[in-house]
Symmetry: C2
Subunit: 458 residues, 2 copies
């Protein structure tokens, strides 16, 4: 009998071995966006294959023919004949570790501090993936029957999933499933379990403005040469109106407001502005000022500046007009917004607003993937809500997350499976940031969820 005590007991008994394995995976700096880390990504895929094979999985490591060949792992373990098929999707790549100086422990040397594992990827997504894999391992070691399990683990979730997208046509048959489990999301306030009913899509690219052939003396040339840094500031400022709404013509054409039911349920999971300010260190003053916090974070698109770099940044002063200026932009899209259309709208806006005398270039373009929202009354959501009620008497919330797992919409379409996104992240995990960490308690909850939900799917 698999109950809520099964996974914690298994973890306690095998604690050191589980941590050793988890840490081994975290030590690999699998920054999928950086071609220099390709070897580490290949090592991570091989490591995962070695973990899955003894559990009875057939495992393939696939690399597509085009682009950076970051491997995709596809595994399958047959279950009860004619029974449910569960697909699990996760990613072993992580965000870049910079700014390195802000880490209190080395990002790729996992360190256990007060019950939390500190490392890049400790949560996102290696920690949550590994909790799932350990849950599966615990069930198999206990001789429990399981549904047919298909697993896809990729190394480019943080940078556009190009290998998995390339491989999709040949994977269609192999990935057919009834439900697609993903553990890459967070709990609600006060750690209440949450089922993700929607995600935003994402697209991103790099903008470069070029002016003079070389950095100029800003006294000699000030007022004469066009300044790419200043021009880029102006160009980026033009993307939003003063009230925080998006000013790019056509970008929001298909933005679709939430239903009254969605809006009401979403408010249950809302933090107050005061709680938010307490946690984040500044008031929730971003986005369209006329809308409430939950609507802005879950049901509205964004155009976000992830980085801008130009000219001098050292101590003191250097009076130059920089030759170039570079910005990294990413967009979050709500359902119905088509990535190709929003990209075209941005491209046109940037070209139309490019300041005099400067040359505009877009590069590293990832047109990206749309967002989605799922119906709240599906059988799979009812089943998941029952399992989460066992784990926490408060029951589960529904959440519409502002983040993206771009490949989920694609896999949903490809596999025919109903997405089920339940994860155990918290704000304090600081994913994508220096000092990312994941609590042992969160890891064990992930294992518990895995064991109970896989049994419920039988």
């Amino acid at each position: 009998m698999i109950d809520t005590a099964f996974a914690p007991a298994y973890f306690d008994k095998n604690r050191q071995a589980i941590l050793d394995d988890w840490f081994a995976l975290l030590r690999l700096p699998t920054i999928g966006t950086d071609p220099k880390r390709l070897g580490d990504c290949a090592r991570a895929a091989a490591w995962l294959k070695l973990f899955l094979r003894p559990l009875g999985f057939d495992v393939d490591i696939l690399t597509p023919g085009s682009g950076i060949p970051v491997p995709v792992l596809v595994a399958e373990r047959p279950g009860a004949e004619g029974g449910t098929t569960a697909l699990f999707y996760g990613h072993y790549d992580v965000q870049p570790e910079d700014p390195l100086g802000d880490w209190q422990t080395p990002p790729f040397e996992p360190t256990l501090i007060n019950g939390r594992v500190h490392a890049r990827g400790a949560q996102d997504n290696k920690g949550q993936v590994f909790a799932f894999l350990q849950g599966v391992k615990a069930l198999i070691e206990a001789g429990e029957p399981l549904p047919t399990l298909k697993i896809v683990l990729e190394g480019q979730e943080e940078s556009g999933s190009s290998a998995l997208n390339d491989l999709a046509p040949i994977l269609r048959q192999r990935l057919q499933a009834d439900v697609m489990m993903v553990c890459d999301t967070s709990c609600g306030p006060e750690n209440r379990p949450a089922i993700v009913a929607g995600l935003r899509g994402v697209q991103h690219f790099t903008v470069t403005l070029t002016g003079p052939s070389y950095d100029l003396h800003s006294g000699v040339h000030g007022g004469v040469a066009p300044n790419p840094a200043q021009g880029l500031a102006r160009l980026l400022a033009s993307l939003h109106n003063a009230d925080g709404t998006i000013a790019v013509a056509g970008f929001c054409d298909r933005v679709h407001p939430p239903s009254d039911e969605e809006r009401a349920i979403a408010q249950q999971g809302a933090v107050t502005p005061e709680q938010y300010a307490q946690e984040i260190g500044c008031p929730p003053a971003g986005g369209a000022q006329a809308l409430d916090l939950v609507t802005r974070g879950s049901f509205e698109p964004t155009i976000e500046l992830n980085g801008i770099h130009s000219g001098y940044g050292g101590p003191g002063s250097k009076t130059v007009i920089p030759s170039t200026a570079v910005a990294k932009l990413s967009m979050r899209l709500v359902p119905e917004q088509r990535p190709a259309d929003t990209f075209a709208a941005l491209q046109k806006h940037l070209a139309d607003h490019c300041p005099r005398g400067l040359a505009l270039a877009l590069s590293e373009v990832c047109v990206g993937a749309p967002g989605f929202r799922l119906p709240l009354n599906s059988p799979i959501f009812r089943l998941a809500a029952d399992v989460l009620q066992q784990m926490d008497t408060r029951g589960a919330l529904f959440r519409w997350e502002g983040a993206s797992i771009p490949v989920v919409a694609m896999l949903q379409h490809l596999s025919g499976a109903a997405p089920l996104l339940v994860g155990f992240g918290r704000e304090e995990d600081k994913i994508h940031c220096p000092n990312e960490s994941y609590g042992i308690d969160q890891f064990v909850r992930g294992m518990t969820w895995t064991t109970l939900m896989l049994k419920a799917l039988l």
Copy 2:
């Protein structure tokens, strides 16, 4: 008899020794703005003292009590009783060398390529200073009588001259002079000699916007958290109107247009927009669009963004909302603009326009120095024009440079001397940029100017 052939002949005879000395000075990375380079600044001051003492100068190296103690060298050599006293001002500090990757030769390993010395400071100002000092040395070795010579060499011209400003009160008596020679400027088009009739003032500071306590996931927090990078772009864009004019209330209150005579003479030294684009690599599209190129570069103030840095700048994408964003701003001021007033206007504008939810801080503030314009018909300008006519039959142009030598206005006031700014820089010298260089021919012209002008002042 000192004529135009004297300095070139001296240079040819002593070429190797002069280059050895010049290169020794260039090897010292005297970045006065960087506290780590203080030792190199002290070494440069000591080196200059050892150069001047054998020529009969009394030399003091002074360091003020407050701030970074970058030494100021003050030297004096008595001349004919009751005769003219010439003050020479120069600086041995240089701009930071970054971006280091863009240098074709190491910035502090001077390299002679096709008759040009490549190094940081090769021209600005070590090259031009050393041409003056070599001119003095040549005259002394030839037994020529000289005016009383006072020399001030500082190590913070590029970063606000704080030591020299601190020392000013105790230097007043020692620096009294009739004329103040400065060799830190450029020729006119086609290398025609130029007398600088005006300089812009300069002030600078660093702006920091802070939002979240740490970098946030831009999916989870996009549309909710305020984005410091985006906020800074918006704040900086607010400094100018769409037509390129300055939008900061009060900043331009005292801007004083040039006289008709100044305007007409300035046009003689003007490059065409086509020439400019050819040289710089982009059209002269900066500044107030309604004004011509010379007016914008010589007679208008600027607010220039010298650098902006926030968030991710590496390869690919990183979807963060950065915690902070930093910009380096410098302003060029025309005469009548009071630095304290323009700074106050900027401070108010930035505070008034600071985006919601972000904290604004100004640091590394250098309120700076005003600009100046000199009367064109002064006796010293007539004398200098005669000397330059000997050197180039086309005669001298007057120029109002857009650049600043902030300390000149202060020294003019302190010493009672008439400023005489004649230098031999060219655009191709790329001062403040990677691959700064100075031509041997320019260096020798600086020596020639020194020898002829010092004799003319007797």
